[in-house]
Symmetry: none
Subunit: 209 residues, 4 copies
């Protein structure tokens, strides 16, 4: 139950605290992000922190919501729309992912790594929904007959596959592979998958085409 001190001051303090939390996570990692360190980074007393957030958990939740918003905004700014080719759409999305994970000094990367311990549902849903809608529109436009009933499943698979593959890649600092290669690989995989007919029954080896 967060108190709502009046207006400006309040909003600013909340932002300051969330910002400090971000910096703490970036500098120390989520495991060493403590309420006192956050307060210190915000140049504020611990007491103040608890005047705006009733618990560390709530503060983290606010951060996650902000992240969800940021990603939502970022997604909308993407220069991809239903007029692009599918390849362009996918390429843009993948690029967006890498950009996000590399931005903010790796903040989102650290959050993604720790998704299981965080209230990450909003973020996951934001991504899920956006791409679901985008693909719905796209396929409806060009292939009215396209069987989109398993689109949700496909998007779930694609979104998760993509994010965690990228996270894993970036997390190993020894770039065994160039980011570009993985980027291309992901694009190929996604395109190939989307062009597949749903619910195929034929058990085909590579040469069964």
């Amino acid at each position: 139950m967060r108190k709502s001190p009046k207006q400006e001051r309040s909003r600013q303090m909340i932002d300051t605290l969330i910002d400090a939390t971000e910096r703490c996570i970036i500098e120390k990692g989520l495991d060493f992000t403590t309420t006192s360190r956050i307060a210190e980074l915000a140049n504020v007393s611990v007491g103040s922190l608890y005047q705006y957030f009733s618990s560390k958990e709530e503060l983290i939740e606010a951060l996650m919501n902000k992240m969800a918003d940021d990603i939502g905004v970022g997604l909308k700014k993407l220069p991809i729309n239903e007029l692009s080719s599918l390849r362009n759409l996918v390429t843009g999305a993948i690029h967006f992912g890498f950009t996000m994970l590399n931005s903010r000094n790796g903040l989102y990367l650290e959050l993604a790594r720790n998704w299981y311990r965080l209230p990450a549902d909003n973020v996951a849903n934001a991504l899920q929904q956006h791409f679901l809608e985008l693909s719905r529109i796209y396929f409806l436009k060009y292939y009215r007959e396209y069987p989109i009933d398993d689109l949700e499943v496909r998007i779930f698979i694609i979104v998760n596959s993509t994010i965690f593959t990228m996270v894993r890649l970036i997390s190993q600092n020894n770039s065994m592979w160039r980011e570009k290669d993985i980027e291309n690989g992901l694009i190929e995989m996604i395109l190939a998958y989307l062009q597949t007919n749903p619910e195929p029954q034929s058990h085909v080896g590579i040469d069964s085409r």
Copy 2:
């Protein structure tokens, strides 16, 4: 060189401790796995624990190595070989993944969720290497001309995509989607991806737009 009783004893203690660690993780989750609880489950004193492992970290590392071995063994037992069709190979692998993540009361699931905080490289490599070799052999057999220079990239993408998509699926207890659907989806995606030509320049959108 025959093992001395001492070494025997030692080996046994180490196994007991690792086993206790596993049970603790299963019962309490990684976050609530403490050295005391481990020692208690092992019917051993904390002091003894520290006789065999110089830190909690090291114990966890041993656990991860054991996990890597177990997975290696499991992989070799897979009834899939270079004589199967690609679809059969992939299906078997995916099935193996789900089986693993659901086995041991979710031990591997919990470890996979927390991979970033764990020395998970060996495990990742074991998987990576196994599938890399398997696919090398397979493709060499059927497509000597197959350009396998980007096979590592593909395997990296596929392995990570698969594991984390499965982990995410299992972690949301509200099975929005049936495991079977995701399983099939993953299989389709992987097959489609592997049948793609490497380094493609052609813009093969559904209609090449």
Copy 3:
């Protein structure tokens, strides 16, 4: 001297704050009565609270004084006087006690429980003095020769015995005994005690053994 508006305002604020304190104690209990909660219930800022009371302690003191006054007023309203029989006097007093402790949603009950941490002297004295005077008058009327020098001691004993026995009774929600039984028991005890000769040397056991 007419009160200035200022004093008026001040008086009103003080009352509001004391009232809020009472409500807080009733709702949360003394242990969870904080200055912020009081201010909140009073629809006033903490700052204002400290404008009128230099500390929480002082506010509580004011509350206790008000309580002393209230009890004084209540005592005077009692339909008992020196014309009643002693039994009627005592019965009325005991009844008054239970009524008080059960009134105001248990406010006085909570305060009585915590008497030691509170400036409860005024309250104690109010009760003490009232019953001392009442009994003085009563005994002087009927027994001019009654040695009232130990009356103070008797009243001290009676008042404290009564209050805390009642508090203990009400505090155990499992009414092992009906309130009525304890009420009667107290009445009997007090009557028996008051009818005793002071400073008795005779060993009047049931059979003087």
Copy 4:
């Protein structure tokens, strides 16, 4: 859930901690008795305290149980039995009460003051039961016809009246009255009460005999 370290060492530590708690309560009062102060007084780390008591609450509970035992032992040692006169029995009991409350530098006094915030049931029951049985035996011996069905009520009233009157007396350091006077007054009151017939219906004033 207290751990049970082996044997001697354990028992000793538990005693040391309870002892430190007692000293802390005596020196600082219950309100300023903190886990760290207790540990400090016990020359032990806070961690050790929590190895033996899973919470401050549990430690306090152990202290209360010890108090209940001590009182039980003290009661049994009382040189009063069913052969004494009732006056002697009561005198002994009252004396015992004052002795207890004045012993241990006021430890029991402070605990009695704070009964409501403490797990005091065992102590209350110990006293209640002891005196209930004692009086049962006594009355059965001399007055087989004595209606003892309301004895519980009487003992409840007497025990609580006595304790809290004594506590109140001792708590006001300005001995307005000599302890001896209150002691005698209590004795008279109790004797007078016990010699009363139960459930009287006559509404008698002091002169209505």
